[in-house]
Symmetry: C2
Subunit: 201 residues, 2 copies
């Protein structure tokens, strides 16, 4: 099979499994918000269990891992932050600017709640770990968080447009020192700095 | 309605909505792992969409929030870490020892992946934010993260028994200084320290 055909295959798989995950994200949200009566919940649960049985007939034994396409694209469809096939992930779409700035714009729903109507502090940490780490990311080479420090200035609201961004401050050997934040339309809500390790192998 | 009846009602609701969320957690995992063909995925997706339509007919407009039962228990069923009704949450069960130690034992599946076969660094941050924060938690009074620092000693594996624990080092007015970690059977994988704020109101 040619490289081009393999790439087309990934796009085809994306069009099959992407909408499935999106439907499950809607279900995750409704699991939290529904006020349906027990009979309706039992009916919905039966359909969900039946769908899961169908999907389980053919499934890889472990997690998705990270795959690299012939044209060098990283496929991390199971990733907890950006995974196209992972309904736990919002999922974030990460943008890389030529000057090294990494950013993502997103909105968080009911599934990311901590204090009432606001994002869980740990969800902001989850997102910032990923966005800061993405500044150090090289193709097909994983990056590991060394240390991460988060400073919470005020609460981060659910249901409002948010933006996360990060850039590299400096590098020292295998270490990348990055800084970044999450902001809403009124400014920064959480600031972060981190050291990320790129193993030499 | 008596207080006792309200408590019973929460237990009844738990028995309705808890199993629904558990079924959706299985679906989340299969969304990542299934290798079903497009026809099977389309069939499963149709059932999922139908279940979501049923559940959406009666749903609260916003996130779940935090409710307090007449006997003083906090109901945070939408919480991203402990939420019984939130399929994004593993969910963690948090234990409070008389000496102030807070701990939770859990295993992370495919939905929490970062590097292949390992937990996303941000997922460890999410969990530690919650477990450290729980040391400062008072009934019906929210606690906000002020700062959180994470030190990653080595990777945290998916599919292995893990334990998170934390305790208070000291308090200063509204500030609680807490430390903790995640460990597997070979020792600590991620250590954390945080300052948590308990507003006076």
């Amino acid at each position: 099979m040619s490289d081009e055909m393999l790439c087309i295959d990934y796009r085809r798989l994306e069009s099959v499994y992407g909408p499935l995950a999106q439907s499950i994200r809607r279900l995750v949200d409704l699991s939290i918000r529904t006020e349906a009566d027990p009979e309706t919940v039992a009916s919905a649960k039966a359909k969900i269990d039946s769908a899961a049985d169908e999907l389980s007939a053919s499934a890889r034994p472990g997690p998705f891992g990270v795959q690299v396409t012939p044209d060098g694209q990283t496929i991390a469809w199971g990733n907890a932050v950006i995974g196209l096939r992972n309904p736990v992930a919002p999922p974030l779409v990460i943008h890389h600017e030529p000057d090294g700035l990494v950013w993502s714009e997103f909105t968080l729903g009911a599934a990311y709640e901590g204090p009432p109507d606001h994002a869980h502090g740990g969800v902001s940490a989850l997102i910032l770990d990923h966005v800061l780490g993405a500044t150090a990311h090289k193709l097909d080479r994983p990056v590991y968080t060394g240390t991460l420090t988060l400073r919470y200035r005020r609460r981060t609201a659910l249901g409002r447009p948010l933006r996360a961004e990060a850039h590299i401050e400096r590098t020292e050997g295998v270490k990348t020192f990055s800084v970044g934040h999450i902001a809403d339309e009124d400014g920064v809500t959480v600031a972060a700095e981190g050291i990320f390790i790129s193993p030499k192998t």
